[in-house]
């Protein structure tokens, strides 16, 4: 494990409710900003860096400007790189880089979304991209393009619906202990496979929840960390990658996690075998299965057998994952990358629910997938480590 750490996550906070009909998007950002700063033992005026992303309609055309104004922030560094659900894992790396270069010392990262109770039409596609004109006309939106990836993986490697269902079953096992989770009822493999087919081979229970919600975390320099009476989490490494059509040679079984993970592990000087806990973006069960392979937890094509028999269940599975119930059962506030970071921080600080806390978790990863796995997407991987005090 590297000793060369530029930045630490000092505080994290997740909005407790999965519906927030009476709160504005900006208000949700502010609530979680306050929560994360309080968790870190920092004040608003300590913040000199700010990161957020998100749909323009939520907070204004230029999200960091709108939210800096709303929150009254005075920042020397800000960014709104928006690669969808992976953005907030990317912000871990971007904040760490900004801190390493002396651009800021206390970076606040926030997300808020109201996908569940906002009745405003949600734009499914980004019309500004040329490519969208070759997809929308075919009805290619989120669910079916992920189903295409699942189909191809099944075709090439013999992956089964039951194996995908193992992922949902493990997530639901964790969610029963999370009082805030949207769906707390444990489900069996059989129940997942018996649920309605929504875009074959994906079933309804292969899909994540649609929730309102928000989350925030605070990334700080080593100097700030030393002043805090709070256990912090080291940002050991980070990597990002984009996977796309490749001029028409798209490979639906390959994800950006292969390159983002390698870059993050190299920087952290650890490997998959060193990981005690994994937050894996789980928009759909197939997202998890392919990501596990590409991050190197098993060989390509062996994700199906890897996840069998409760391997992902905490605390004693081979690789405990998404112990909050994840996007599949707990929370997917528009984008899920934020909650991936938050639960990894909880695990490393020993603050996950006791029923799912991984004993002595020292190395965790948070992986975000943004965009559309079946056409083009981003991968962002952060390797995080426990810091002894």
């Amino acid at each position: 494990m590297t000793d060369d750490v530029d930045a630490y996550i000092a505080g994290a906070f997740e909005h407790p409710t999965r519906e927030a009909p009476d709160k504005s998007i900006a208000q949700l950002h502010a609530e979680v900003a306050a929560g994360a700063l309080e968790d870190a033992g920092l004040a608003k005026d300590d913040v000199d860096g700010y990161f957020t992303a998100g749909e323009n309609y939520q907070v204004g055309r230029y999200p960091p400007l709108a939210m800096a104004d709303y929150l009254g922030l005075d920042v020397s560094y800000f960014d709104s790189t928006d690669d969808g659900g992976s953005a907030y894992v990317n912000h871990v790396g971007e904040a760490a880089a900004a801190i390493a270069h002396g651009k800021c010392d206390v970076a606040l990262v926030t997300l808020a979304g109201r996908m569940r109770t906002d009745d405003r039409d949600q734009p499914e596609h980004d019309d500004s991209i040329l490519q969208e004109n070759f997809e929308r006309i075919y009805g290619a939106e989120t669910l079916p393009v992920y189903a295409l990836a699942a189909r191809r993986h099944m075709h090439e490697y013999g992956t089964t619906s039951e194996q995908l269902a193992e992922i949902r079953a493990a997530a639901s096992h964790h969610a029963q202990y999370n009082e805030h989770a949207m769906y707390r009822e444990p489900v069996t493999v059989e129940e997942v496979v018996a649920s309605r087919t929504v875009s074959d081979p994906l079933h309804l229970l292969d899909c994540c929840v649609v929730s309102d919600g928000a989350g925030a975390f605070v990334v700080v320099s080593d100097e700030v960390r030393r002043q805090l009476a709070r256990e912090c989490v080291a940002v050991l490494g980070h990597g990002a990658a984009i996977e796309h059509h490749d001029a028409g040679r798209v490979d639906l079984t390959r994800t950006a996690a292969r390159d983002s993970g390698q870059r993050a592990f190299d920087r952290a000087d650890v490997g998959p075998a060193d990981v005690d806990y994994a937050s894996i973006y789980d928009s759909f069960t197939i997202t998890v299965l392919q990501t596990l392979e590409d991050l190197g937890f098993c060989e390509k094509g062996e994700g199906g057998s890897f996840v069998e028999d409760g391997a992902l269940k905490a605390p004693h599975g081979t690789l405990p994952f998404n112990t909050d119930g994840g996007g599949l059962c707990s929370n997917h506030p528009d984008r899920g990358g934020m909650t991936k970071v938050i639960e990894a921080v909880r695990q490393l600080r020993g603050e996950a629910n006791p029923e799912v806390q991984v004993p002595d978790a020292e190395v965790a990863i948070a992986h975000g997938t943004g965009g559309y796995l079946g056409t083009r997407h981003a991968g962002s991987t952060a390797v995080l480590g426990r810091v002894g005090r």
């Binding site: 499914e124 019309d127 040329l130 490519q131 004109n133 070759f134 997809e135 929308r136 006309i137 075919y138 009805g139 290619a140 939106e141 669910l143 079916p144 393009v145 189903a147 295409l148 990836a149 699942a150 189909r151 191809r152 075709h155 309605r196 087919t197 929504v198 875009s199 074959d200 081979p201 994906l202 059509h245 001029a247 028409g248 040679r249 798209v250 639906l252 079946g374 056409t375």
Partner: protein
């Protein structure tokens, strides 16, 4: 298994020849004259070598299904036209093209199914959209 007429894609000077050809019943690909790459979707510069020396070529219009799904939920798609069979078709020239397979039941399609191009109308009489049907 179809939705007619389809939404009209946004036509730009860069892609106008592609849509005009489709309205005539022809599927075009781009071919880089410097590195010989034949690619989809159309772009003015080659995505392999960034050369602007790119020509339109006629595709054979035949290929095989690389992946497919019959989806029960598509926002805005009339329910009576669902499920919609979305697919990647691997053209004989090599590129994999996101498209629909029309006029077939979802149980008739397999990975590897042989398909050929056909065209559906849009609201704009000068624009048609290439889709595929099973070769029987």
């Amino acid at each position: 298994m179809s939705w007619e007429p389809r939404p009209v894609p946004e036509i730009s000077p860069e892609t106008a020849p592609y849509w005009a050809a489709a309205a005539e019943g022809r599927l075009l690909l781009c071919e880089c004259q410097d590195c010989d790459l034949q690619y989809y979707y159309p772009r003015a510069r080659c995505p392999d070598c960034l050369s602007g020396n790119v020509e339109w070529i006629d595709a054979a219009g035949t290929g095989t299904v690389y992946a497919y799904t019959a989806t029960e939920i598509v926002s805005g798609w009339p329910e009576e036209h669902l499920p919609l069979v979305l697919a990647y078709v691997e053209l004989d020239e090599g590129p994999r093209m996101l498209t629909d397979v029309v006029d077939c039941g979802p149980d008739e399609v397999e990975v590897g199914s042989s398909v050929e191009v056909t065209f559906v109308d849009t609201d704009d009489p000068d624009v048609a959209i290439p889709v595929f049907e099973l070769r029987r």
